[in-house]
């Protein structure tokens, strides 16, 4: 755990082309922007707005040793472990989801020490991204103190507040090398609108040294400029834009589709008995064998997709 010096952080930002330019590319081209060993932040939370298509592309591209961070990690964490893309995940909670019990793959990898799950409090994760977004080395906060969670993390420091004398915790800035974030729509330059829950994505985009956006739909810059107060992630932070319909499947994308629950159940079943062979079989069938993203969606199934979409758009029925 080391914090970059301020000049190093600024140098990385300065070196980026932050101008208003077309950044549209394919999943494969975007995957090439991620180097083995990079720190990688993942947008969304649990089974919501997970940039699954980008993760799919990183796994297919055979990336290695990414230090992954996310607010809360679900099935995508299992797959990052099982594929070897990551052996170190920094998050506050890691399992498929409460209704599916404790993730067998997470357990298998962490209990055997093949992989590390570095646990911070949820707010600490958020404030670490926020410090990174603000260009300061830390944020002060008032939780995690006194807990085992604090004891097992690296880099947080307690301080006596110079104003009040109170004990505060300073959590270190997180400036991931790359952030991958999925949005409902953005323009070719990367001006993104996000409907519904934004999780930690806005701070994450500002904190990262490189941002890859996947989007359900690319819209015109004119449409963005008609409602600039709806832009949640600005073009100047974005390095790649990839259009991927149903890019979170089998997770949800707010207002468009809910989780593909039957497929989530299938995943839980496949990994229930033997985590290693189950995850490998799942990766083969849904990650390595599909010809392309449409083929991946086909394997999940058209009926599931239509059902998830019907439930997803239902949030706007009122």
């Amino acid at each position: 755990m080391s914090i970059p010096s301020y000049l190093d952080l600024r140098q990385k930002t300065r070196a980026r082309d932050r101008s208003l330019r077309d950044k549209v590319m394919s999943l494969e081209e975007a995957a090439a922007l991620v180097a083995d060993g990079d720190s990688l932040a993942i947008g969304g939370c649990t089974a919501s707005r997970t940039p699954m298509a980008m993760i799919w592309a990183l796994i297919r591209a055979g990336k290695r040793d990414l230090e992954v961070s996310r607010s809360i990690v679900s099935t995508e964490g299992d797959l990052l472990y099982a594929s070897g893309v990551s052996r170190h995940i920094i998050t506050s909670w890691f399992s498929q989801g409460i209704v599916w019990g404790v993730s067998k793959v997470m357990r298998a990898y962490t209990e055997s020490k093949r992989a590390r799950f570095e646990e911070w409090s949820h707010m600490a994760m958020g404030l670490r991204y926020r410090a990174g977004a603000m260009g300061v080395p830390f944020m002060p906060m008032r939780s995690m103190l006194g807990s085992g969670v604090l004891d097992r993390t690296e880099g947080a420091k307690t301080m006596e507040c110079p104003f009040t004398g109170e004990t505060l915790l300073l959590v270190p800035a997180l400036n991931p090398e790359v952030a991958i974030i999925h949005v409902q729509r953005c323009d070719a330059y990367g001006n993104a609108q996000i409907d519904g829950l934004t999780f930690m994505d806005i701070d994450m985009a500002m904190a990262a040294n490189k941002v890859i956006l996947t989007t359900e739909r690319i819209v015109s810059n004119e449409q963005i400029r008609r409602h600039p107060d709806q832009t949640k992630i600005g073009f100047f932070t974005v390095d790649a834009v990839v259009e991927v319909p149903f890019g979170c499947a089998p997770h949800e994308c707010y207002g468009l589709y809910e989780p593909f629950y039957t497929h989530m159940d299938l995943y839980a079943q496949m990994t229930a008995r033997d985590a290693d062979t189950g995850a490998k079989a799942y990766l083969d069938r849904f990650y390595h064998e599909p010809k392309n993203w449409a083929d991946y969606l086909s394997r999940i199934g058209m009926a599931e997709l239509l059902d998830a979409q019907r439930r997803g758009s239902g949030i706007y029925d009122d």
Binding site: C45, T46, A47, S48, I72, S92, W93, F94, S95, G97, I98, V99, V102, S103, M106, R107, T110, E111, F117, E119, S121, H122, M123, A124, G126, L127, Y129, R130, M141, R142, S143, M144, L145, G146, S147, G148, V149, R152, T158, E166, T167, L168, L169, G196, L197, T198, F199, M200, D201, I202, D203, E252, Y254, G255, E258, P259, Y261, G312, I315, D318
Partner: protein, 265 residues
Amino acid sequence: MTTERARISLSVAPAYTGSELLAVMSARLLKDGQTVFAGVGIPLLAAILAQKTHAPGLTILFEGGVIGPFVEAGKLPPSTNEQRCSRRANMLVSITEVLLLLQRGYVDVGFMGGAQIDRFGNLNSSFIGDAENPKIRLPGTGGGNDIASLADMIVAMKHEKRRFVEKVDFITSPGFLDGGDTRAQAGLPAGGMFRVVTDLGILGFEAESRAMTVLALHPGVSAADIKANTGFELPVPDDVEVTPAPTPNELAILRELDPEQLYTA
């Protein structure tokens, strides 16, 4: 985990599940006008039940960034981060912002479940066994640590000896730490354990020592029953109250909310 429970003799079979009992008893602790930071499962069910009975002005917060939602019967969310949590909410904010509401002091009650709790109300949801070589790696804190650090807490959980332990394997979410004023000394002057609701009774914490104590027993549960299912010395006052059983109305509301018994089986 499988359930292991010291035998309890009830004179008649109850007309409700243990989870339903937990939800009803927890709901009754919530007051109208309060702001409650709730986890999914029993806490969510209990909060909605309270809204639909004695606390219509209860405001529910979810850690996904949701303030004052309306959760539809039969469409319970699988976590606090899916759109189902946000339906007809008053406001959606980022995760960081909703957790900062706890820190700013806008939340009256934090309300969650727990895997393991100890005499001083410390909660473990990270490791069973030694953290360096755990028997089970659990999912971790999520917002639990933040909620328990910054709000008055209600915890709802099954009452089993291996869950109610002398000292938790790992403090994921702080209760009163080592009791007395050790919580404040650690930098947590606000919040702390208020109540633990189990399927056997309702527990509180002594004002000075901050050790867990029994406030009430559920119908048909004896002092011996609750002691037998607790892994530490748990005082039960002689004149301990008995909680009124769940009413048909409370149970009916719960069953409408969770018809598939996702959380109340």
